[in-house]
Point group: C2
Chain length 391, copies 2
């Protein structure tokens, strides 16, 4: 087991009607002038935005609004948010939405007190030293950003999709009401399932030995998603299933499942190029790429793939490690298919003929190397894209 | 799944040589005058106390020392600690030790800014509104107090052993170096294993339905302890095994394994009377009482005991629920025996003839009712003590 630090100070308030805690929580964490940041029409149509505004007004908390966050949130809106916050003396950011909105809010929170260009955080030329407190009312369980110290933003010019992180951007509180997820369409629900499973698998596949505790916790989270996932697709208003999935999404990405081990994150790197180029949902891209990544790297740590097959997918150990490992990968792919996710380029709407372009931007974004389980160079990455392009 | 709040802001710094972070962490959390609180001779003999003092001196952090915390920490030392802190204008408490030292430190931390008698917190007549920051260097993985919001103190007069809690007493940081646990004797190691398993089981046995995620996380933690526990007994200097157990002890009791479900805690209530009367180790008392509690209550929720047997102990489902449930309980008892723990009154040094006395104090401490899985009255409690008294 490796040395580690784990610090997750977010206050999670979970359950039915938990949104009514919004104003007291903002006050508790020092917010007096709030930027309410949200996405498109769903927060308006559902009445959630109006409900939150009412709570703020009743408690005399001043606020300004900034909507319009798109999936794969972009730098231009972050610049706009930073400008509004400075002009309006905002001291607290409240994100209402899913991972895209929260990531956009985190970037604004870090950008406001920084005198340079916030993109420097994503170029990794400076680190985040200060940030406004950010909090969230989660509406899409997927990205885990409500409990994480990271964010991903796309630079419109050049379609660069990059991540950055700091303990300072962990939300001070996160409100999670599973009822808010009842209206999520089946496809978005499924993208979320692939995303949260990927957050666990990026941590599960490691060469670090002697980390039984996080092995078991990763498997526990995956088993829950595999069991409850099909239920939320079939019965979108099943409260307990929605609740299990919502909390699993948070557990998957607080960092808790990765302590003591080297994490991988190659597949996320590969996927960012797909969603930057095609605008596809992150979870859809991950569903296509994760099995392909596995098929490429399993040889370099087969015992872990045997563990994955037997403990997560309940596959009997035949004695032939390769057979068992491949069955586990197959089970994952079948599971993704069964909940309506794409598992190859064609189903995703991606083209094999674009692989050169994908590799080109991947090289810039990754510096030519990615992953840790088996460190990939650009030739490896090309092979994985090619495998994902096969039907 | 029930609504819940989960807030665990403790900064965990885990691994080899992590003690060297002590002084910077104290400064980070505002400590300028520290009470260094510890137990008996082990912190002195091991050189840990001297090492910490050196770090504090090098960083010009003033401190006073208070040692002498005993297992089952007592109110009299808490009063002494409170007095010292007030006199010396201490603004930070550092506990070096296991759960007893940390609990004593927490009680001091809550007692210093309170003008009344700190025991009121344990009488539940007042709640904790303020506390000095408390932090810990953990040397015994067992109680989970390094990451919990609770504490247990024994009132010398009347041998009343009681718990109290508040988010304000969660340690601001916890340093966990598994190497510090290499010298723990086998019996103390085993008591710790029983204690951390009990912290999970008090949460696992619930009537709340639809909490798959915490079911799986509880099982994951138990599976780790069952796998790694015998290793730390056999090979006390196996770093990875010690590391897994140390972190499992924290995971077991941060609250993470209990969110969304009603917890039980009857067995802890029953055990407090044993350790108050006989001064036995808490973990030893739990090892005796948990199987007895299970044998008494399994009828009132047999499906959960079947889950425990099949998922935690890998017992095949024969079709006969009662048989499977009892096999699971037997497996737990056998496991406790295999790591050298007592599993009945005789092995513990307790006497069936004392049951009247145990019930008498239990009635005072519990108000005559305890537990939630199957709420026990004093007649039920008597039966469980009697079952534990059988060989």
């Amino acid at each position: 087991m490796n040395n580690f630090k784990f610090w997750s100070p977010t206050e999670f308030v979970f359950g039915k009607n938990s949104v009514k805690n919004t104003a007291p929580l903002i006050k508790k964490y020092g917010g007096t002038k709030v930027l309410v940041h949200y996405g498109g029409q769903s927060a308006i149509k559902s009445g959630l935005l109006a409900e939150v505004e009412r709570y703020l007004q009743n408690e005399f908390i001043e606020y300004v609004k900034l909507g319009g966050v798109q999936p794969n949130p972009v730098d231009t809106l972050v610049y706009e948010g930073i400008e509004i916050c400075r002009k309006e003396c905002v001291n607290f950011i409240l994100a209402i939405g899913g991972g895209s909105v929260i990531d956009s809010a985190k970037a604004i929170a870090a950008g406001v007190p920084y005198t340079g260009d916030f993109w420097n955080f994503f170029e990794r030329t400076v680190s985040i030293n200060r940030a406004l407190p950010v909090a969230t009312i989660l509406t899409i369980p997927a990205a885990g950003s409500e409990g994480s110290d990271s964010m991903v933003i796309t630079k419109t010019r050049g379609a660069l999709k990059r991540g950055a992180g700091s303990p300072l951007i962990r939300p001070v509180f996160a409100i999670l009401d599973p009822v808010l997820t009842f209206t999520l369409p089946a496809n978005q629900t499924a993208y979320g399932l692939a995303d949260m499973m990927s957050h666990v698998m990026e941590r599960y596949f490691t060469q670090t030995t002697g980390v039984e505790i996080t092995d078991r916790l990763c498997e526990a989270t995956l088993l829950t998603i595999i069991n409850e996932g099909p239920k939320v697709i079939r019965e979108p208003e099943n409260y307990d299933a929605r609740a299990n999935i919502m909390w699993a999404g948070t557990v998957a990405h607080t960092g808790f499942c990765g302590v003591g081990r080297e994490e991988d994150w190659a597949t996320h790197g590969l996927e960012h190029e797909l969603s930057a180029l095609y605008g596809v949902a992150h979870g859809a891209g991950l569903a296509v790429l994760f099995p392909a990544w596995m098929q490429y790297v399993y040889r370099f740590g087969i015992d872990r793939f045997v563990l994955f097959a037997t403990r997560v997918w309940n596959i009997e150990h035949s004695g032939d490690k390769k057979e068992v490992a491949l069955k586990g990968i197959r089970a994952l792919k079948d599971f993704f298919s069964s909940i309506g996710l794409p598992v190859n380029f064609k189903q995703l709407g991606a083209k094999a003929s674009d692989i050169d372009r994908l590799i080109e931007t991947l090289k810039i974004n990754s510096g030519g190397k990615l992953g840790a389980f088996y460190p990939l160079n650009m030739e490896d990455a090309r092979r994985i894209y090619e495998m994902a392009a096969m039907e």
